[in-house]
C-alpha cells in the first residue's frame, strides 16, 4: 500500500508545527524521517494516526483521500503505529495486550483468546519473531516489548507501519535486531515510516530519507549520503560529529575504586568486586548493555546506594558512607541517568533547579533566608554560559526540550568546584545539536584536568569520547581497554565474551 501526505499544515497558537508538508511512501519501502527533537515529526505522525487533526492538507492511501479522525480510522485504513513510549499494560500477558480493545468473546461475554493466539503465533512465525504469548509484558526486555507493539499493529492488518523513534530505548544489540525485523517486514510488503534522529540507523535501513526542520520538509537524501551531510541538513548548519579530542596530559589519580561490591536490599550483588583508577585529564567510559550494574556503580560514587562494601577514594580521601550532599561537595559533579526523574524537578523553575544542590550557600542564602534576587541573577548567567534556551528562567523546567534540560543539569553540576564528573547516559534522547554541546562540554572538563567517568550504552559516544574503556558485564568489569579498540571487539566484550 502507498501513503501520500499533501500540504499537511498544523499550528498550535503562533507555532507552526507542520508547514505544508508533502511526503509519500510506496509499497514495500522504508521512508526515514530525520529531524531534531521539536522539528515536527511526532506532530505529523500523530496527524497520520488520527491523534491530531490537520488545519489543512490531505492524506491519501493507495491514491484515494481518506479522512482520519481518530486512531480507529487509521487502523481501518491499514495504518499502524508503534509509539516511542510503549502503550502496553505491564501486568498483562503478551496475548492479552495484543487483543486489548479487540477482544473476541462468547455470547455470555467470556473471553476467547484462542483465535487470537493462533493468529499471533502464525504471524510471529511468518516474521521470524520468537515470542511467548503467555509471558507477562513486565518480565520482557525492552526490545521484546517493542516487538509486541509491532505484532499488535500487524495483528490488525497494518500495511503501513509508523515507528516513532523506535531505537531510543534499545541497547545496541536490540537496535540491530530491530533493524533486521524492519527490513524483513519491508521485504514482505509492509510500507514503513521510520522516524529517528540517529544517523547511523537511518543510513542502514532507509530506502529514502526525508529531512524535516522547523516544521518543513527541507530536503531529501539518499541513504548513501555521509553522516555529516545528513546532520547538517537536519540541523541547518555544519555539524561536528566527531568532537575534537586533543592528545591529553594525564595528571594524578583522582578516583580510586577498590573492591567495590553493591547489593540490593535482598542481598543480591549487583556490582561485584569492581576496581579501577581514574586520573585527572582522562575520560574513562564504562560501556555495557543496560542493566549490568552501571547505574548502581554510578550512584554509589555519590553514596546514593545503601548496601556498599569496598572503598572509593576521591583525591585520596575515603568517601564511602558520606551523605549525598557531602559527596557532591567533595568535588563530584553528577549527571544522573534520567534527567526527568533524578536530574530535575519539573514543576520548579529553571532558576530553582540550578540551585538544587547549592541553595544553602551564599549568595543564594544567608542563614536560612533565601535571596530570590541572587537566584535569578545566577540563573541568567548560567543560562547564557550554557546556552539554555527558554523564554524565561522562571519557566518550569518541564517546559524545556530534552537538550535544554540536560544543559540545566550540566550548568548546575559544573558550577561547583569539581574534581570528578560522573555522567550517566548524558546524551540519551538528545538531538544532534545538543549531543554536540554535551560532548564538547565533557571534553572541555577533561582538558581542564578533571577526571571524567562516563557511563554510556552508545558505542559511538564511547568511542568518540573515551581515553580508556571499561566494559561491564553482569556486575563485573570484564576488561579495561584502550580507546582504539575495534567496534567488534567492544561488541563481544559487551556480550560477555572476554578473550
Amino acid at each position: 500500500m502507498s501513503l501520500e501526505l499533501k500540504g499537511i499544515t498544523k499550528s498550535f497558537g503562533s507555532l507552526v508545527a507542520n508547514d505544508a508538508i508533502d511526503l509519500s511512501v510506496g509499497d514495500g519501502e522504508i521512508l526515514a524521517i530525520l529531524g531534531e527533537n521539536g522539528a515536527g515529526k511526532s506532530t505529523l505522525m500523530n496527524i497520520v494516526y488520527g491523534l491530531l487533526q490537520p488545519d489543512s492538507g490531505e492524506i491519501r492511501v493507495n491514491g484515494s483521500v481518506v479522512s482520519i479522525n481518530e486512531p480507529s480510522d487509521a487502523l481501518a485504513a491499514g495504518i499502524g503505529m508503534v509509539h516511542q513510549h510503549f502503550m502496553l499494560i505491564p501486568v498483562f500477558t503478551v496475548l492479552e495486550n495484543i487483543v486489548l480493545g479487540h477482544e473476541a468473546t462468547s455470547k455470555i461475554g467470556k473471553l476467547n483468546l484462542e483465535q487470537a493466539r493462533a493468529k499471533l503465533l502464525s504471524l510471529a512465525k511468518e516474521f521470524g519473531f520468537e515470542i511467548d504469548p503467555d509471558a507477562l509484558v513486565e518480565d520482557l526486555p525492552v526490545g521484546v516489548q517493542q516487538r509486541v507493539e509491532i505484532l499488535k499493529a500487524l495483528m490488525y492488518d497494518a500495511k503501513i507501519l509508523i515507528l516513532d523513534e523506535p531505537t531510543a530505548v534499545l541497547t545496541p544489540q536490540e537496535t540491530d535486531e530491530l533493524l533486521e525485523v524492519v527490513k524483513r517486514l519491508r521485504d514482505q510488503g509492509t510500507s514503513i515510516i521510520f522516524i529517528s534522529h540517529k544517523l547511523r540507523e537511518v543510513k542502514a535501513i532507509a530506502n529514502r530519507i526525508s529531512v524535516i526542520r522547523r516544521g518543513k520538509v527541507v530536503g531529501s537524501a539518499d541513504p548513501s549520503a555521509s553522516q555529516e551531510e545528513l546532520a547538517s541538513l537536519m540541523v541547518g548548519r555544519s555539524v561536528n560529529l566527531a568532537p575534537d579530542k586533543t592528545p591529553h596530559a594525564v595528571h594524578d589519580v583522582v578516583l580510586k575504586v577498590d573492591g567495590l561490591t553493591i547489593s540490593d536490599s535482598t542481598g543480591r550483588a549487583l556490582v561485584k568486586d569492581v576496581s579501577f583508577d581514574l586520573r585527572g585529564g582522562e575520560v574513562l567510559a564504562v560501556a555495557g548493555v543496560q542493566g549490568n550494574g552501571q547505574s548502581e556503580l554510578a550512584q554509589a560514587i555519590i553514596n546514593l546506594e545503601d548496601h556498599v562494601q569496598g572503598s572509593i577514594l576521591l583525591g585520596g580521601k575515603e568517601i564511602v558512607g558520606l551523605s549525598v550532599h557531602d559527596s557532591l561537595h567533595e568535588g563530584i559533579a553528577f549527571v544522573p541517568e534520567s534527567r526527568e526523574d533524578d536530574g530535575l524537578i519539573g514543576s520548579f523553575s529553571i532558576a530553582d533547579n540550578l540551585i538544587l544542590d547549592t541553595h544553602r550557600e551564599r549568595p543564594f542564602a544567608k542563614g536560612i533566608s533565601l535571596s530570590p534576587r541572587a537566584v535569578a541573577a545566577d540563573a541568567e548567567l548560567k543560562a547564557k554560559e550554557f546556552d539554555i534556551r527558554a523564554q524565561s528562567t522562571k519557566d518550569p523546567a518541564s517546559s524545556l526540550s530534552g537538550g535544554n534540560k540536560q544543559k540545566v543539569v550540566l550548568a548546575r553540576e559544573l558550577s561547583r568546584p569539581v574534581k570528578l564528573l560522573v555522567a550517566s547516559q548524558p546524551t540519551r534522547g538528545l538531538d544532534v545539536g545538543s549531543i554536540e554541546f554535551v560532548h564538547e562540554r565533557i571534553l572541555a572538563e577533561r582538558d581542564a584536568g578533571r577526571a571524567v567517568l562516563l557511563f554510556s550504552t552508545e558505542l559511538d559516544e564511547v568511542l568518540a569520547l573515551a581515553d580508556r574503556i571499561a566494559v561491564m558485564y553482569a556486575g563485573k568489569i570484564l576488561a579495561i581497554v584502550d580507546s582504539n579498540v575495534s567496534r567488534e571487539k567492544l561488541g563481544l566484550l559487551m556480550a560477555g565474551v572476554a578473550s
Partner: protein
C-alpha cells in the same frame, strides 16, 4: 502588577466558580426538600415563587448568621450587627491553623490526616499549663501556647520519624494516631490532675485569666487575639516555603523526592521536619482554641477541626493565603448554618451539602470548565491525588 492580578484571578477563578455552582445546586436541594414547596408542585407559578423565596430566605439567614445581622444592629448600633462576623472569625481561627498544618504537608508531598490528633495534644498541653500553673499575664499565655505547640510538634514529628526510618505511610500512621489522641483525651480527663473538682463529666478546670487570649473588640464579642496568631502563622508558612532554604527543601522533596535526593537534599530530614512543623501548627490551633474561646478542655474540644482542615487545605490549593480564605468561608458556613436552622425550615445539614459540592467541583476542574465553557481555566495540579504517591 497586571501579571500579579492575572495570577490571583487565575487561581481564584476555579474556587469562585465552584462556590457559585455549589450554591446553585444546593438551592435546588433546599427547595426540593422543603415540604411546603413540594405541596405546591401542582401549581407551577406558585411553586416557583415559593421555591425561590425559600431558597432566598435560607441564604439570607446564612448571611445574617455569618456576616452581618441588621436585627442585632437595630437599637444597638451598626457594630453590634457585626456580631455574626466575630463568631465566624472565632470558628475560622483554629481551622486556619489546622488547615495550614495540612497545606504545609501537601507542599512537602505528605498527606497529613493527623491534624485532629495534633490539635488535641496542643489543646491538652495548653489547657494544663493554663489551669495548673500561675504566671504573670503575658508570660502565662505565651507559655501555655508554647506547651501546646511543642507537645503537638513531638506528636507530629513521630509520624515523620516513622516514615523516614521505616517507610511507614503517613496516612495510615496519622489515622491511627488520631484514634490514640482521641482516646487519650478521654482518659486524661478522668484523671484527678485534669478532672474539674466536683464534676463527673469529662471537663478540665477553666484556664486562669492570665492564660486567656485577650478579646479584640470588647467583652460583647468573642473575637480574640487568636486570629492575629493564625494570620501570623499563615504568613510564617508562606515565608518558610518561599523564602527559606528549609521551605525550598520541603517543596523539592514534595515535587520530586528522587531528584531532591540526587542533589544532596536529605529526604528523611525534610519528612521529619515537615511533620513536626505541621504538628506545631495544628497544636497551635488547639492551644488558641482552648485559650481563646473555650477556656476549658472537654472531650470533644477538637470538634471536626482536624478533618475539615483537609477540605480547607484542598480548597485553598495548599497555599497559605488560600487556606486562610477557605477557613473563613468554612467558618462562615458553620456559624451561618446555625442561624439558618433556627430562623428558617432549612436544616444545618445543608451546609455540609454546600461544603461537599464545593470540594467536588474543585476536585473536578474539567467539569467546571465544561459547564462554564472556559478553555484555559488554570487548574494547576490536582491536589487531591498528591501525597498518596509521594
Amino acid at each position: 502588577m497586571k501579571k500579579f492580578l492575572d495570577r490571583i484571578l487565575g487561581s481564584a477563578l476555579l474556587p469562585a466558580l465552584s462556590f457559585l455552582l455549589a450554591f446553585i445546586i444546593s438551592g435546588f436541594v433546599i427547595a426540593f426538600s422543603d415540604s411546603k414547596v413540594l405541596k405546591l408542585v401542582s401549581s407551577p407559578g406558585k411553586f416557583i415563587t415559593t421555591a425561590l423565596s425559600t431558597v432566598g430566605n435560607a441564604y439570607l439567614a446564612l448571611f445574617q448568621g455569618s456576616i452581618y445581622d441588621p436585627n442585632l444592629a437595630h437599637g444597638h448600633g451598626f457594630l453590634q450587627g457585626l456580631y455574626p462576623l466575630s463568631e465566624t472569625i472565632v470558628t475560622a481561627t483554629p481551622l486556619i491553623l489546622t488547615g495550614l498544618a495540612v497545606a504545609l504537608a501537601f507542599q512537602a508531598g505528605l498527606f497529613n490526616i493527623g491534624a485532629q490528633g495534633q490539635f488535641i495534644f496542643g489543646a491538652i498541653a495548653a489547657s494544663y499549663v493554663g489551669f495548673h500553673y500561675s504566671f504573670t499575664p503575658v508570660l502565662h499565655v505565651t507559655l501555655a501556647i508554647l506547651a501546646g505547640v511543642i507537645s503537638a510538634a513531638i506528636w507530629g514529628g513521630i509520624v515523620g520519624l516513622l516514615k523516614a526510618r521505616t517507610g511507614a505511610h503517613e496516612v495510615i500512621v496519622t489515622i491511627m494516631m488520631n484514634y490514640i489522641a482521641g482516646f487519650f483525651i478521654l482518659w486524661i480527663l478522668k484523671t484527678t490532675k485534669f478532672l474539674r473538682h466536683g464534676r463527673i463529666d469529662p471537663i478540665a478546670p477553666e484556664v486562669a485569666p492570665s492564660a486567656q487570649l485577650p478579646h479584640l473588640a470588647g467583652a460583647n464579642f468573642r473575637l480574640h487575639a487568636g486570629i492575629l496568631i493564625a494570620l501570623l502563622a499563615a504568613y510564617f508558612v508562606w515565608w518558610l516555603l518561599n523564602r527559606t532554604t528549609i521551605g525550598f527543601q520541603f517543596r523539592a522533596v514534595g515535587a520530586n523526592a528522587s531528584a531532591a535526593k540526587t542533589a544532596g537534599i536529605s529526604v528523611g530530614y525534610a519528612t521529619i521536619a515537615t511533620m513536626a512543623l505541621c504538628g506545631a501548627l495544628a497544636g497551635l490551633g488547639g492551644a488558641v482554641h482552648v485559650l481563646g474561646s473555650e477556656y476549658a478542655l472537654t472531650a470533644d474540644i477538637a470538634g471536626n477541626f482536624g478533618f475539615d482542615a483537609i477540605t480547607v487545605a484542598l480548597l485553598g490549593r495548599a497555599k497559605p493565603l488560600g487556606t486562610v480564605l477557605a477557613a473563613l468561608l468554612f467558618g462562615a458556613l458553620r456559624t451561618g448554618g446555625r442561624t439558618m436552622q433556627s430562623n428558617t425550615t432549612t436544616p444545618l445539614d445543608i451546609v455540609l451539602v454546600i461544603q461537599a459540592l464545593i470540594v467536588l467541583f474543585i476536585a473536578a476542574p474539567t467539569l467546571v470548565r465544561y459547564i462554564f465553557r472556559i478553555k484555559n481555566l488554570k487548574t494547576q495540579e490536582a491536589m487531591a491525588s498528591k501525597g498518596w504517591n509521594g
